[in-house]
Structure formats: structure tokens, C-alpha cells
């Protein structure tokens, strides 16, 4: 005999909450939406306005300066391949979304990370939330984004920011907590205020770790931006999506390879940034 348990209406509650939020804060969400859209369009147009070879040269130069000649050569080869496959424009769209989402995520994550490092209570409160954010399947974030911001790039950014923020918070916290106690003691002994301690000792010493967190955030942002094609974000993801729908595996793989190239490029570039800071 089966016992009839009343079903917990978790889904209904969440929907109710979201509806309330969207209607209550529509002014704010519309504001955010407009600003974000302007940013996306602006950056995208700027990058597209540059001729392909010019952007290619800039990126190669950057790679050479921050890392080495090998990365520069790799970058040129990879980007030429993307150009040749006719995926330049979707690549730029993806890059735009990654850059903006990462910027927003980092700007929000670092203060939170600092606060969590300095307050044991906040630390204990925030860590389970971060675990939750990271273990939640990525596309679930797409769903609440739509009622807030509608179909399109802004929703993609919103979901991406939430999904990619945890490592930046975590690593910032970790970096600050890793500063040796004796250095904190030294700063205290000479009468440094909390603020002086943070700016003169804790932040500079945690910078390599923070950079590692930013690197991870960028990688997560890239993966999410690709998935966000499902809710209408332009870019390499939508190329993959289209290939799936039309059953054209060749096109799908081409777009996939473009994502891999972009990922490697961003990864090496941010890692070299971290190393050059450390030296």
C-alpha cells in the first residue's frame, strides 16, 4: 500500500518568488538590461569595426609581450584558422560576452571575497552558497534569466556571471587567508589600520592567487556563454546549436574547435599575466 505524501510544491514557490521579483523589480531589471545591452553592442561593434588582420596583430603582440613568441605564433595560427572557417564574427560575439561577463563577475566577486576572508561568519555563510552555485547544472541558471531579461545576450550574461563568479570569490578569500600570520602581526605591530593592512599587505600578497581565480572564472564564463546559445545568445555556441538542429556534425565540430582555440588563448594569456606579476 502506497502512502500518499503531499508533494512539496518547491517548483511553485520558486516560480512565485521569481514572478514577484520580476514584477516588483522590473524597473531595475530593465535598467540593467539596457546598460548591459549597450555594453555588449558597443564592444562587439568596436571589435568588428577593426579589420580581422588588425585585431589579429594586436592579439599576437599582446601574447608576445605578456608571454612569449610561441604563444604569439600559436595565437596567429589559431585565429587564422577561425577566420578561414568563416567563424570570425561568432568568435567575436563569444569573446565580447566572455569579456563583459568576466568583468562584471570579477568586480562583484573580489569585494565579496575580501569580506569573506576578513569575517569568519561571512566565510562560513558564503561557502555553502558557493558550493551550491557551482554544483547546480549550468543551464538551470538560464531559466530564471529569461523572465528577468528576456531571450538574448543579456540573459546570457546574467547566467554566466552567476555561474562563473564562485572561483573568483573563493580564490580571493583563499589568497588573503594564505598571507602568513607573521606578516599580519608585523603590520599590526607597526600600527597599521585594517585598511592599510589590506591595501599594503594582504591584497598585494594575494594577487597571484586572485589571478588564478580570475583565470578559472574566464574559463567558466566561456563554457557558459557557449551553452547560453540555448536562450538565444549569439556566437560560437549558436553555431554549434544550429549544426545540431540541422544534423551537420562537420559544422558543429568546426565551431567546437574554434571554442577550444579561444579557450586556450584566454587561458595561456591570463596565466602568463599571473606569472609576470609574480616575478
Amino acid at each position: 500500500m502506497a502512502i500518499e505524501l503531499p508533494r512539496v510544491p518547491l517548483g511553485q514557490w520558486i516560480e512565485g518568488g521569481l514572478n514577484w521579483l520580476t514584477s516588483e523589480y522590473s524597473l531595475i531589471t530593465r535598467g540593467i538590461s539596457r546598460v548591459t545591452q549597450t555594453g555588449i553592442t558597443g564592444l562587439n561593434e568596436a571589435l568588428m569595426w577593426l579589420p580581422e588582420w588588425a585585431l589579429l596583430a594586436i592579439i599576437a603582440g599582446l601574447c608576445w609581450k605578456l608571454a612569449n613568441l610561441r604563444l604569439a605564433i600559436g595565437a596567429v595560427a589559431g585565429l587564422l584558422l577561425i577566420w578561414n572557417m568563416g567563424l570570425w564574427e561568432p568568435m567575436i560575439e563569444t569573446l565580447t560576452l566572455v569579456v563583459i561577463a568576466t568583468l562584471v563577475a570579477v568586480v562583484m566577486a573580489i569585494p565579496v571575497g575580501i569580506a569573506a576572508a576578513l569575517s569568519e561568519r561571512l566565510y562560513r555563510g558564503i561557502m555553502p552558497i558557493l558550493d551550491f552555485m557551482q554544483t547546480m547544472p549550468a543551464f538551470v541558471y538560464l531559466i530564471p534569466a529569461i523572465p528577468f531579461f528576456g531571450i538574448g545576450s543579456v540573459s546570457a550574461i546574467f547566467a554566466t556571471v552567476i555561474f562563473s563568479m564562485p572561483p573568483a570569490i573563493r580564490f580571493t578569500t583563499l589568497g588573503i587567508r594564505q598571507v602568513p600570520v607573521e606578516l599580519i602581526e608585523a603590520a599590526d605591530a607597526y600600527g597599521a589600520t585594517r585598511r592599510q593592512k589590506l591595501i599594503k599587505v594582504q591584497l598585494p600578497l594575494s594577487l597571484p592567487t586572485v589571478m588564478a581565480g580570475i583565470n578559472q572564472t574566464i574559463m567558466l564564463a566561456l563554457s557558459m556563454v557557449v551553452i547560453a546559445a540555448m536562450i538565444g545568445a549569439d556566437g560560437l555556441g549558436s553555431e554549434v546549436w544550429r549544426a545540431i538542429q540541422r544534423l551537420r556534425p562537420g559544422d558543429g565540430f568546426e565551431a567546437g574547435i574554434a571554442v577550444v582555440i579561444l579557450a586556450m588563448l584566454l587561458d595561456r594569456l591570463t596565466q602568463s599575466l599571473r606569472k609576470s606579476r609574480k616575478a
Binding site: E185, A187, A189, Y190, G191, K200
Partner: protein
């Protein structure tokens, strides 16, 4: 040595409990429970208990004890890197445990510079920037703090290294930066927590000598922590000996060596080369008899016979030392009809100040065996040291109670051979 200089820091009834129930732990202590019982009963560590001492203006006070005896805790209570659980720490009229957050910062900036065992230099800052840290925090303007820092670096012999990073320096040099950072800050008290313990013995000796020189020039009030008795004896004006969070003895190096307060201290000091520390004063005897410069040889002979002496010192009316006359010379003078002892006296004896190290006196007995005269700055006769007394004193100091050597005493009492 009586010290009537001003008191710079007065510490009274200072205690520290590590744990969340300090009140309870202190109550149990007041009921007479020991450290380990309190730990068993409450899980609280009694780090310091009933600490009373003064730091005098301009002195170098050493706090010494085995590892775990509470030295670091004590020095960190002074500037409240560790919060004391009870007691007073008064510096220039301010009671440090009562200060609010702002006042505490101010107090740390004005009164305390600190040098750490593992240097605690900021790895992302150059030597120069490390040295400037204290001044920078206080908001001194850039030019001034650069100038002061450069001067401090010069003082510790590091000019030319301003732009290096700490990881490019040897341990000894790193600690010089630590010292420069403290000196540049010009706070009124220098706190040094095992500042030289991480250095090689040779470099360590150099640093000790340099600290003493700096101390001579600047007369900076210094609290210096060490677990090394030799170091404490070498540099300390006074020593506070700590055991299990309590003070066992406070005294000058000489007092610690010659009048150990209990068996613990006695065991602690065994094996130290005491002749390095003992002075002429400690082996000095009262002069049994002297003659005046106006006396005749007959008086001198009688006094020598009465006190069974071979020779006798001659002083003037104010006890200033004039010379020495031997029994033989006195009887000759008597035969020759000389009227004054001064006509037959000799200057072949040796005289020293009361602080002359005892081991220097050995060599002096080489030339002749007259008692060595101990005189003050005005050459007034304070007493004499006879050969036997030096040996006695050294033998006594070297004599140790027959206690089994625990690992502790091996660690802390390295033989101080020169």
C-alpha cells in the same frame, strides 16, 4: 646594582588564558590549581600568570625561558598582538589593556617597534620599502621617510641594498632589514622576539655585538627575548627568567649566576662559563687593614703582624690609594730610621675597577702575588682580591647540584667557551 632610572613600562599582575573561558581558568588558578590541571579540567591554557616586572628607561631587558614558557605571549601582550586576560601594562601613564581601538593604534605607532624571529619582512616590498613601513603607516611624507629609512639602513650596514627584495638576502641581512625597519620607526621601545635565534652562531655573535653598540649610542629601551642563556648574559642589563608562564627570578646577569633563586635557576645556569660574567666586585674582600700615608714603618709592621699580612696598602685621609708596602721593606725602613711608610712603598701592585671581569684577574696574578686592589673611579680603595678568592669564586660558580641532565637543560645551557 641598584637601578634608580625611570620606569618606562610597568607590568602588574599580567595573566593570559588561551581559550574561551578565561574567567573560569583564572578562578581555578586562584584556588591553587596548576597549569596542567586547569588544562585538563577546562581545556584552557594558562599562558601567563601573575607577571610583575618593570622595564626601565634605556635598559636592555632580556626575557628568558625555555620554549613554551610564555616568552612570545608576554612580549605580544605588551603591544596587544595578544589580548591579556587580566593585569596592567602601563607605559608613560597609559594602561595599554584599557585602550580603545584608535588609541591602541596610536600607542603602537608611538611606543613600539618590533623585530621578529623569522624576520617577517614583506616579500613584495624592497628593502627600502620594508624599512619605511612604520613611517608610511604613520603618514610621514615620502621624502622624509625615505631619508630616515636610508639612514637606518646605513646604521645596520645595508647601504647599497635599498632596491633588493628580501628573498635576495641572506638570513643575517634579512634580520638587519628587520632591525632597520624597527630603528627607522623611532618608537620609544624596541621589542625583539628571538630576533637572533634563527641565525648562524657566528652571525648571531656579530648581531649581538652590533645591538650592544647601537644600545650604547642610542640608549633605547629594549625588551629582548631569547631561550639562550649565553645570549641573555651577553646582552642583558637585567634578565627576567620565565618558567611555565611565571617569573622565577629577575636580576642582573651576575645576580642570576651568583644568587640563583631556586634549583630550577641553578640547573638552568649550569655549564655557563661564569668567569666571563663574574666581576672583580664579586670576588672582592674587605680590606682587613690599611695604613695611612702619614704613618711610620713601625705602625705598618704591627698592623701586618696583627692581621697576618705580608704587605699592606697605604691610603691618604680620604682613602685614596697611595701605594703598597711589603713587610720586608718596612723592617728595612725601620732599621734605616725612615719616618714614613711612603719612603719604602712600591707601585708594583695591580689595581682594577669593580666591573673588571674576573678572568682578566688571572693574568695579573702572574707577575706577583700581591692582592689586587679594587678602586672606584676616584681611586678610592674599595677592597682587595686575593688569588685564592678568584679560584674559589670560579670553583663555586662551576659547582653544580647533582641533578640528572634533562633534555631541557641540555638545550638551554650550551657551554659558553670563548
Amino acid at each position: 646594582m641598584s637601578d634608580n632610572r625611570n620606569v618606562k613600562i610597568r607590568v602588574r599582575n599580567l595573566s593570559k588564558v588561551f581559550g574561551n573561558q578565561p574567567k573560569k581558568a583564572l578562578e581555578l588558578r586562584d584556588q591553587g590549581l596548576g597549569r596542567s590541571e586547569i588544562l585538563d579540567k577546562t581545556g584552557q591554557t594558562l599562558g601567563l600568570s601573575h607577571i610583575d616586572f618593570d622595564v626601565h628607561e634605556g635598559e636592555l631587558l632580556v626575557i628568558m625561558g625555555l620554549s613554551g614558557s610564555g616568552k612570545s605571549t608576554l612580549i605580544r601582550c605588551l603591544n596587544r598582538l595578544i589580548e591579556p586576560s587580566e593585569g596592567e601594562i602601563v607605559i608613560d601613564g597609559e594602561n595599554i589593556p584599557e585602550l580603545g581601538e584608535k588609541a591602541l593604534l596610536e600607542c603602537r605607532r608611538r611606543h613600539f617597534s618590533m623585530v621578529f624571529q623569522n624576520f617577517a619582512l614583506f616579500p613584495h616590498r624592497t628593502v627600502q620599502q620594508n624599512t619605511e613601513f612604520g613611517l608610511e603607516v604613520r603618514g610621514i611624507d615620502k621624502e622624509e621617510r625615505q631619508r630616515v629609512a636610508r639612514e637606518a639602513l646605513k646604521q645596520v650596514g645595508l647601504d647599497g641594498w635599498e632596491d633588493a627584495y628580501p628573498n635576495q638576502l641572506s638570513g643575517g641581512m634579512q634580520q638587519r632589514v628587520g632591525l632597520a625597519r624597527a630603528l627607522a620607526n623611532d618608537a620609544s621601545v624596541l621589542l625583539m622576539d628571538e630576533a637572533f635565534s634563527a641565525l648562524d652562531p657566528l652571525i648571531r655573535g656579530d648581531m649581538q655585538q652590533e645591538l650592544l653598540q647601537l644600545q650604547n649610542q642610542m640608549q633605547k629601551t629594549t625588551v629582548f627575548i631569547t631561550h639562550d642563556l649565553d645570549e641573555a648574559l651577553t646582552i642583558g642589563d637585567r634578565i627576567v627568567l620565565l618558567k611555565d608562564g611565571e617569573i622565577v627570578q629577575i636580576g642582573t646577569p651576575e645576580e642570576i649566576l651568583t644568587k640563583p633563586a631556586d634549583d630550577y635557576v641553578r640547573r638552568f645556569i649550569e655549564g655557563v662559563d661564569k668567569s666571563r660574567i663574574l666581576t672583580a666586585e664579586s670576588a672582592m674582600r674587605k680590606v682587613r687593614a690599611t695604613v695611612r700615608d702619614s704613618d711610620g714603618p713601625r705602625t705598618a709592621l704591627r698592623k701586618m703582624r696583627d692581621h697576618s699580612l705580608d704587605s699592606i696598602y697605604i691610603t691618604d685621609r680620604d682613602r685614596h690609594l697611595v701605594g703598597l708596602i711589603e713587610a720586608e721593606a718596612a723592617s728595612q725602613a725601620l732599621e734605616q730610621g725612615k719616618e714614613k711608610v711612603t719612603q719604602a712603598m712600591t707601585q708594583e701592585f695591580r689595581s682594577v675597577g669593580p666591573n673588571e671581569p674576573l678572568h682578566n684577574l688571572f693574568a695579573m696574578f702572574h707577575d706577583n702575588s700581591f692582592p689586587i686592589a679594587v678602586v672606584d673611579d676616584d681611586r678610592r680603595l674599595l677592597g682587595v682580591v686575593v688569588k685564592g678568592a678568584v679560584l674559589d669564586e670560579l670553583a663555586q660558580a662551576a659547582e653544580t647540584p647533582e641533578l640528572a641532565k634533562s633534555p631541557e637543560s641540555v638545550e638551554t645551557a650550551p657551554a659558553g667557551d670563548e
